[in-house]
């Protein structure tokens, strides 16, 4: 978008907030899987859940510049909370999501006091340590979490006592997609608010924001807590739709994977995590079908290629292409 077409800052912000055709098309396209690939609905619901997780990471990494290698901690806390609730006899999914989001958000709020004080390598190491710490704790507390064998005996009740979770994943997909869309609306609103602008300011220049009077630490604490809540909701959805929770939900691998997805799609764009999660999960599904165990080779190559050739991710590349062709996205 060029400066001639924009009259002033207010118009520019309004132009950003307006729904574009490409966005509408994107969400319409998410309705296609049940029609086109009904046998892949289980994968599709996993993609929606992972996309939600990637969206939560985008809020802190892409929009606020807080690098985290331990984001799975909140995902895992959400998953275990929802799983344990259901195991102890309360399998109602929607309230389960909210309670799991609350638990993850609580942990996020507590840890955010530490997170807000550090940057760069120290921050990477602290988030990494936090993730590993929780994983080991969950492994040790096997009386609660089932340890290495995972949490068994989860039963999720029908949604609104009406839609039972079926074998083919129709309900699971609709459920995850609906939650993803609702949370996305919230995140979109948040990013286009003055608070969202302040976050981008923190990302661009962490020294100047306090100098112009923005409460940087308070902002970071707030967005970190919100991201933790969303990650917890994503984790809870995984627990409810698969009816099992394993230690892998908390693991370093999941934290690393979600960063990779986000970069693949493009950071600092609302759709980056969504597109990245879809591409990554589909690629993993395909490659592990070809020769299981070696798909990391291709993911690694893909990652190197993206960083070398498309530094702003797939969406950044598309935006560049659109600009070259003179199309306004």
């Amino acid at each position: 978008m060029t400066s001639e077409t924009i009259a002033g800052p207010v118009q520019q912000f309004q132009a950003q907030i307006r729904w574009r055709w490409s966005e509408v098309l994107f969400w319409l396209a998410t309705l296609l899987p049940p029609v086109l690939v009904p046998s892949y609905l289980v994968l599709a619901s996993q993609i929606a859940i992972t996309a939600l997780f990637a969206l939560s990471l985008d809020l802190i990494l892409g929009f606020s510049g807080i690098i985290s290698l331990g984001h799975a901690a909140y995902f895992g806390v959400g998953a275990y909370t929802a799983g344990l609730l259901s195991k102890w006899g309360w399998g109602e999914p929607v309230s389960g999501l909210l309670i799991a989001g609350f638990a993850a958000g609580l942990l996020g709020y507590v840890t955010s006091f530490v997170i807000a004080r550090f940057r760069h390598l120290a921050l990477i190491m602290i988030t990494l340590g936090l993730g590993l710490l929780l994983q080991e704790a969950a492994n040790s507390a096997s009386w609660l979490t089932g340890g290495f064998d995972g949490l068994q005996g989860i039963h999720t009740w029908p949604i609104f006592q009406k839609f039972d979770f079926d074998l083919y994943g129709y309900t699971a997909y609709s459920y995850s997609l609906a939650v993803l869309f609702l949370v996305f609306l919230v995140a979109r609103r948040l990013i286009h608010s003055p608070f969202g602008l302040a976050l981008r300011g923190i990302r661009e220049n962490g020294q100047r924001m306090p100098a112009i009077g923005a409460p940087m630490h308070a902002h970071i604490r707030t967005i970190y807590t919100i991201a933790a809540i969303i990650a917890g909701i994503a984790g809870a959805m995984l627990a409810q739709t698969t009816e099992t929770v394993s230690l892998e939900a908390l693991g370093f691998q999941r934290s690393a994977d979600v960063v990779v997805m986000l970069i693949l799609g493009g950071t600092g764009r609302l759709y980056g995590g969504l597109v990245g999660a879809a591409v990554y999960m589909v690629a993993r599904d395909q490659f592990s079908g070809l020769n299981p165990q070696y798909w990391y080779f291709w993911i690694g190559l893909l990652l190197i290629a993206v960083v070398m050739l498309l530094p702003n991710g797939i969406l950044g590349g598309l935006a560049l292409l659109a600009r070259c062709l003179g199309v306004r996205s």
Binding site: F118, I124, M125, I126, V259, Q293, F297, G300
Partner: protein, 286 residues
């Protein structure tokens, strides 16, 4: 219940190993601010070189060690020329991702060539067994490991503190731009340091096989330990890395022996407390 000295001895041997694995990363990170998460892939390469030479070609253990060093150093030079040098001015995140991509590729390649089993090595007889001294058993291999690592540490410190090359490295770590301004060829210096550091990691990987085993996940598992050593010790500080590696080695061993229930939690706790207390590391200046 093992004695305090036994645990201390094992911890020190383990710490020495961690020091060899991590010192190269500490110096290159301090110099160029390049977050090289593929550092342990070079260590893994060294390990596999030793395994291959011993098991397929019947080389003696000691003859394989220099080859492991050279192979890892050579591989690092190739990667540095081909990929890394374009990313010196890129963001932390892009550097992390590029090198994580390399880690993924190296793990999958190792799994493809060698399978996912742990690789066995047959040590020469005089490195097996142990020496009894003051009522304690000292495993020969661990004594050898400690002696080797101490020798290398002394060599490193002498090189860095007393030679012209070392002075240039210190200048570049302290202030890269100023060093450039004084006419030091920082890029060339970095390439050499990078190769040396990766070579040491390769040597560490070869020495690690007997103590911690070698399988394709090595590049990831030990990456975390190496990062802990580097961030706790402080970037670019050899003494810091040494102290942090000892601290980590001893506390990890002590945790595993005395409080096995929370043993693995303990080192992460130690790391987080250390970083919160000193965000730039024990001996870090920045």
């Amino acid at each position: 219940m093992p004695s305090v000295f036994g645990v201390l001895f094992d911890g020190v041997a383990y710490g020495m190993l961690l020091f060899l694995l991590s010192v190269g990363l500490s110096v290159t990170l301090g110099m160029m601010n390049f977050v090289n998460l593929a550092h342990c892939s070079f260590a893994m390469l060294g390990g596999y070189v030793t395994v291959t030479l011993m098991n397929a070609f019947g080389w003696p253990f000691f003859a394989t060690l220099p080859v492991a060093f050279i192979a890892a150093a050579a591989a690092s030079v190739v990667l540095e020329r081909a990929f890394f040098r374009r990313f010196y001015n890129a963001s932390d995140l892009n550097q992390c991702l590029l090198t994580i991509g390399i880690v993924f590729v190296s793990i999958a390649s190792a799994a493809y060539i060698y399978g996912t089993d742990e690789q066995p090595v047959q040590l020469p007889s005089y490195l097996r067994g142990s020496i009894a001294f003051l009522g304690l058993d000292f495993a020969n291999y661990r004594l050898f490991l400690i002696a080797t690592a101490l020798l290398i540490t002394i060599l490193l410190i002498v090189t860095v503190e007393m030679t012209r090359f070392g002075a240039q490295v210190r200048a570049a770590v302290n202030n890269q731009r100023m060093a450039r301004g004084l006419g030091i060829n920082v890029d060339g210096l970095f390439a050499i340091t990078f190769a040396l550091g990766s070579g040491l990691a390769g040597l560490g990987g070869a020495l690690a096989i007997e103590m911690v085993g070698l399988d394709p996940s090595f590049a990831f598992t030990y990456l975390i330990y190496v990062l802990i050593v580097v961030s706790v010790g402080g970037l670019g500080s050899i003494t810091g890395s040494f102290a942090a590696a000892m601290l980590l080695g001893v506390s990890d061993m002590a945790g595993k022996y005395y409080v096995p229930a929370i043993g693995s939690v303990l080192i992460y706790l130690v790391m987080m407390v250390m970083i919160m207390w000193r965000p730039t590391g024990l001996f870090g200046r920045r």
